[in-house]
């Protein structure tokens, strides 16, 4: 459907065209108009152009050249200057002989050629001017693109570091929960204090996720079900495997190990680290410790 409706009794074509043009401008966003680009090219040339390659006063030079050409045109093209001379006697002789001289050459062609030259100079001026405008535009676009590339690469670095940190923390092992329960029962008394601390950490994390709001984003810790939350299932596990960086060998890639079927949980031998997720004694490389794109490395929320 159209963005604006028009009553049949009040159609104003000019108004519609104004709206259409406004919409085109909106779609193009903060694009520069031709006028703005020309202003930029004329005024701030030295700020955008590479001075070693394009002279910033190129336009001025060509304008001067054009004026000189126009002055020169007035001197060259007319017949008086063609047959003229500063010496009066020579001028007179040439005037007498002009009909004869015209038999040997065509002064009209000379005049035409001269004017064509002037016209070509005009064209050259236009070409150079357009080149400067285009170079300016491209230079600006290049700067913008460079900034975008830098921004994207810093985000990518951040995501990679975050993924590695999470992988070193999150490991899944079938039967780990049962073993954990048995060992936890044996150590219940001595570890009671530490267990409470772990539970409170989990609660704090859940609270923090709640405060962040929104659904889980890909590549973030919300998108990767962790054993810590107890929400991971066998079907979800390959997602953790897929999230591993490519440089880390998978179980099926290792010599002497059979390829693992899709959906089959990783065996104990597949892990390369002890189950630190459920081990309260192990250091906790939290995602919070990873640098953020804005350069802030502290916790997300105060008091965390």
């Amino acid at each position: 459907m159209a963005d604006f409706s028009i009553r049949s009794d009040s159609v104003n074509v000019e108004e519609i065209m104004r709206q259409i043009r406004a919409r085109i401008r909106e779609k193009r966003g903060v694009d520069y108009t031709e006028k703005e680009i020309r202003e930029l090219a004329a005024v701030k040339l030295e700020q955008f152009l590479d001075p070693s390659k394009v002279r910033s006063d190129l336009l001025e030079q060509y304008r001067e050249l054009q004026q000189r050409q126009m002055q020169a045109e007035a001197e060259v093209v007319d017949e008086i200057s063609l047959f003229g001379s500063p010496r009066p006697w020579l001028r007179r002789v040439r005037r007498w002989l002009r009909p004869v001289l015209k038999l040997f050459l065509n002064p009209v062609a000379l005049m035409r050629a001269s004017r064509v030259n002037v016209r070509h100079t005009d064209l050259l001026f236009e070409i150079v001017h357009n080149l400067v405008v285009e170079t300016t535009r491209l230079s600006m676009e290049l700067k913008t693109l460079k900034m975008r590339v830098e921004s994207i690469s810093s985000r990518m670095d951040f995501d990679e570091r975050r993924a590695r940190a999470l992988e070193s923390v999150v490991q899944y092992r079938p039967g780990a929960a049962a073993e954990e329960a048995a060992s936890a029962a044996g150590r219940k008394d001595e570890d009671e204090g530490e267990g409470e601390a772990t539970a409170s950490r989990s609660r704090r994390r859940r609270r923090r996720r709640g405060r962040r709001g929104g659904g889980p984003r890909p590549g973030t810790e919300e998108a990767i079900p962790s054993a810590e939350t107890g929400g991971q299932t066998a079907a979800e596990e390959p997602a953790v495997t897929r999230a591993a960086p490519a440089d880390r060998p998978r179980a099926s890639d290792r010599p002497g190990e059979p390829a693992r079927a899709e959906g089959q949980p990783r065996t104990e031998g597949g892990g390369n680290a002890p189950e630190t997720a459920s081990s309260p004694a192990a250091p906790r490389p939290s995602a919070d410790a990873a640098p953020r794109p804005d350069g802030h490395s502290g916790p997300d929320q105060p008091g965390d």
Binding site: M1, A2, S5, I6, R7, S8, D9, V11, N12, V13, E14, I16, M17, I20, R21, R23, I24, K27, R112, R115
Partner: protein, 453 residues
């Protein structure tokens, strides 16, 4: 009253804009006066080859006198002359050579006009830029009424024509833009002139379904009617339309009606139906969602008027000031200068049916007020009567006086340097949009504004 219509080509199957205009006008004025047509034997406007037999003929009841063209036009030679006159400083001799090269060079037609000048009250001469018009008006200046069909192309800057614009008895303009352009180039404000245009026999009940059945056209479509030519902006139209369909995921098709001088792109959404009879053409326009008019140069778009007469909106090229002016005056068409505007405007018409209907309604109203044949005939008859009254008042002596200067002599043709025609054209002011407003509302449309005539 006895009138002669002088035109470069004439025939029931000749569909050029000015030629169709002349035929319609002759047939309609024949109801009010005795009308003869004086024309050439040419059918092809590129070469002016003598395809039709010379002598008397009758087309739709109107007597036609055809005269053979002396030499065919060679596009290469004409192109060389055009370049010289349009792009460089030149002499009057160059301009006359250009006119001869353009043709249709038909001195027998000119001699005939001189011979029969006393038999006719007025000669309505079409298309200022051709040989027959220039020399024909010079043969009978005080009885010539010019229908210039002038476009904003470099020919308007050729200095030969300025005395013609000032020396004819009256000028029947096609549009306000044309009038302003000719006045600016020639300073002919004293010449009686009126903006008339041309009417059209738009059927009251077209049958779009018949067109769809006959030609197997399904779904919604935009239609282009006219010669498929680069000068008509068709290349640009093809490019824009293909981009539009690809980017907007539109189900709109483009149907082309008319003879093609260009290869039509092989695109599933573009269909070329060739030349169609009037009945099918009107049915096609009635079946279409919108008529696209991509031409850069028009003195008056008859097909746009016909689309408006059938209640269809028009999408026109804004770089043609006449089309843009017509869209604004009628409030019945959108216009574009580039692809973005083309796409947005077409999208508006395609998706907003209320807007399309409103534009079509305005178009129909504009057509009825200004371009119905009774309105057009009335303007011509008013002008003819006014000229007759002037002639009677001034007496026979005044009528015989030629207002045109004689043709320059041998030396004068070689001495005077004239500015490049394109440069002259570029310096002509564009008509301000202040000219907007309906033709009917403007004094010129009533035929009362005789501009001092």
């Amino acid at each position: 009253m006895k009138l002669a219509v002088v035109v470069q080509r004439y025939g029931a199957d000749i569909s050029g804009g000015a030629e169709l205009h002349a035929r319609y006008l002759a047939e309609h004025l024949a109801r009010h006066a005795r009308v003869d047509v004086v024309t050439t034997c040419a059918r092809d406007y590129v070469t002016w080859r003598n395809d039709l037999p010379a002598g008397a003929d009758r087309v739709n009841g109107v007597p036609v006198f055809r005269f053979p063209v002396d030499r065919v036009r060679t596009p290469r030679v004409f192109g060389r002359h055009s370049e010289r006159v349009f792009e460089y400083e030149h002499t009057v001799g160059d301009e006359l050579a250009w006119l001869d090269a353009e043709g249709p060079a038909c001195p027998r037609l000119i001699r005939h006009l001189s011979a029969v000048s006393q038999q006719y009250d007025y000669f309505i001469v079409f298309s200022y830029r051709y040989y027959h018009a220039y020399y024909g008006i010079r043969a009978v200046p005080s009885k010539s009424i010019l229908v210039p069909t002038a476009e904003r192309d470099p020919a308007i800057g050729v200095s030969l024509f300025q005395p013609i614009f000032r020396g004819v008895r009256a000028i029947m303009y096609n549009s306000h833009e044309e009038q302003a352009m000719i006045r600016a180039v020639s300073g002919n404000a004293q010449v009686p002139g009126v903006v008339v245009g041309v009417g059209s026999e738009v059927p009251d009940a077209p049958q779009p379904e018949r067109f769809r059945r006959t030609y197997g056209v399904r779904g919604r479509f935009a239609v282009y009617v006219g010669r498929i030519d680069e000068n008509k902006g068709c290349n640009e139209l093809f490019e824009f339309f293909q981009r539009y369909v690809a980017l907007r995921q539109s189900d709109l098709s483009l149907v082309l009606i008319g003879a093609s001088l260009l290869p039509v792109p092989a695109h599933p959404r573009i269909r070329h139906l060739g030349f169609l009879p009037d009945e099918d053409k009107f049915d096609a326009i009635a079946a279409a969602d919108v008529l696209v008019m991509p031409s850069f140069y028009e003195s008056l778009s008859m097909v746009a008027l016909e689309a408006w007469g059938l209640g269809k909106p028009v999408l026109a090229n804004a770089r043609c000031d006449v089309l843009r002016g017509q869209c604004i005056r009628s409030n019945a068409g959108l216009y574009y200068e580039n692809y973005n505007e083309f796409a947005e405007a077409l999208y508006q018409v395609e998706t907003d049916r209320n807007l399309a209907a409103a534009l079509g309604e305005n178009g129909r109203d504009f057509f009825c007020r200004n371009y119905r044949w009774p309105v057009i005939e009335g303007k011509y008859l008013d002008m003819l009567r006014a000229l007759q009254d002037e002639d009677r008042a001034a007496g026979p002596q005044a009528v015989r006086t030629s207002p045109l200067p004689p043709l320059p002599g041998w030396f004068a043709r070689r001495r005077q340097m004239r500015r490049p025609a394109r440069e002259v054209m570029n310096q002509l002011p564009l008509v301000a949009e202040a000219g907007a407003g309906s033709l009917a509302a403007s004094p010129a449309a009533t035929g009362k504004d005789r501009d001092g005539g």
